[in-house]
Symmetry: C2
Subunit: 332 residues, 2 copies
Amino acid sequence: MATLKDVADLAGVSVKTVSNVVNGYDFVKPENRRRVEDALTATGYRPNVGARNLRRGRTGFIALVVPELSIPYFGELAGGIIAAAQRHDWSVLIEQTLGARDRERDAVGALGPHMVDGAIVSPQAIEAADLAGMAPRVPVVLLGEHPLALPLDHVGIDNVDAAYTAVRHLLDIGRRRIAAIGQHPTRGTATQRLAGYRQALTEAGLAVRPELVAPALRYHYSDGAEAMARLLELPEPPDAVFCFNDMLALGAIRAAADGGHQVPDDVAIVGFDNAELSAYSLPSLTTIAPDKAALARAAVDLVHRRAGISEQFAPEEVRIPFTLEIRESTTA
Amino acid sequence: MATLKDVADLAGVSVKTVSNVVNGYDFVKPENRRRVEDALTATGYRPNVGARNLRRGRTGFIALVVPELSIPYFGELAGGIIAAAQRHDWSVLIEQTLGARDRERDAVGALGPHMVDGAIVSPQAIEAADLAGMAPRVPVVLLGEHPLALPLDHVGIDNVDAAYTAVRHLLDIGRRRIAAIGQHPTRGTATQRLAGYRQALTEAGLAVRPELVAPALRYHYSDGAEAMARLLELPEPPDAVFCFNDMLALGAIRAAADGGHQVPDDVAIVGFDNAELSAYSLPSLTTIAPDKAALARAAVDLVHRRAGISEQFAPEEVRIPFTLEIRESTTA
DNA sequence: ATGAAAGCGCTAACAT
DNA sequence: ATGTTAGCGCTTTCAT
């Protein structure tokens, strides 16, 4: 493997000159530049990123900590983050926690400044106490959830408002017995979405019925299907359901069909996340659509600003816009 | 951030001794060991992985090069690979190529031994010529596609056999005008799946009709929907379709419904990949199910064996088993 | 058993 | 405009 010195020797110049050419420093005598470039191709030189970073005091990596890549939402998000990171010359290291609190703790704990220049974390179960001990040694930006009392940067949409918008839509199309699927003991977003749900109902003069609020543990298709099956067995089943993510919603649609219920005629369904699939399902899914590209870009840019040597700044709260995509699951 | 030297100074020993303790070298005087351990905790020392790797000549990373994480199949695969890599103390770096040939070339080309200890690549468009020039400087294992004439390790299922199995199933349920969606000019798997399709038809004494073989560019939902719409406009539309992945199949189901055709009564549909969703779609999707966990494990283990300093061995071809999951899209 | 010191490949003062 | 050189933090001979 050719080193800078090999190239310099071959070109008959110093390493400095080679370094200048490699790093795009402008003031190099054309003659020398040519010789260096020739030597570069002749040797097939590749910079040793590790050495460069050791010297520069950066690693060239950021970590992305998510529950599970097999969840379409996180797959899409990760894709966006990789793309956004590229523009800052960052490679993305992905860690999966499966939403387990100890694995989240480990993942964040292992984030030495030597491993990565920063991290984007989508926490699921981690709590303030877990992070209190370990001052983050690198910039950490929270994405989506923000269950922590810690002063960390956060990028996300307004979950209360989004949930309110979703339920408001169900009210607007005349539904009155509106259920929710996705209640969760530790997820902050679940709490917020529930709050938005409550707010919309209350504002419409409707009671929030506990039997219509269904919990979900993992937010997978099966959880949505099971919750829906139970809701439809109620003496007075709901005429609409607001699901806290698209997988729950798709599972719910499936269960409704299995039970012989028409969507949306008998029961309208709204999801959350706008997974690519939701435009193609049968029926297609009305859902809250966060601007995922913006989410990814904002998170990466925030890590970048923090990682910069510049001055400190107070933790930031970045709100990303969302829209409501109205599709067949709520329009006859 | 404390360095080895800081710890050594504090403990009153040399860096060598500290290094010995940190790396679990046994012969250290108990007295010194204690003092070093105290200094270690006092300073909160964390080894600089970059410096260590620079010295050791390994990086602790492997790269995973895939077209797009937002494709459920690759999301699920990536999840499995991260899990498998963990057992070898490897972190996974993910690169997206969007299936573009030049980006694949760049991604593979950037794979210096300084960046990663090895790589798992799911090529889509790259060709032998692209790799001919650059001898892979780190172990590269091909996953899925193997379009190259190069002697590289490969892990995958038998695509011809899988396609044959899928089409055979359609024949078994009595279909005779069987179409295929997913023909592609450069993808090796497309060619192989087409071969299996042909083989099954021919064996059944049926002609392969060119108008029933539809191309697809990106294998996304929309491609499947468009191809299906066109097939259904034929004077004699197909009574079954074999799609080269689940997204195409789900898009096809959508298009069939839009055109007022019943699945599976009017047209049966088989997919490929067994994305988690296919068990929950309406109708649920019959599909070829590769053992994804085995695929991931085999690929990582192969990289690990190659990366070991041990002897050379001939390029390996690892065949992973698959099953046919029969669901509603082919059973009335 | 431990210390001293070289050097992995690179960048950036500093010098010219 | 380019050469010289000191380190980035670590591991590892080579001494002792």
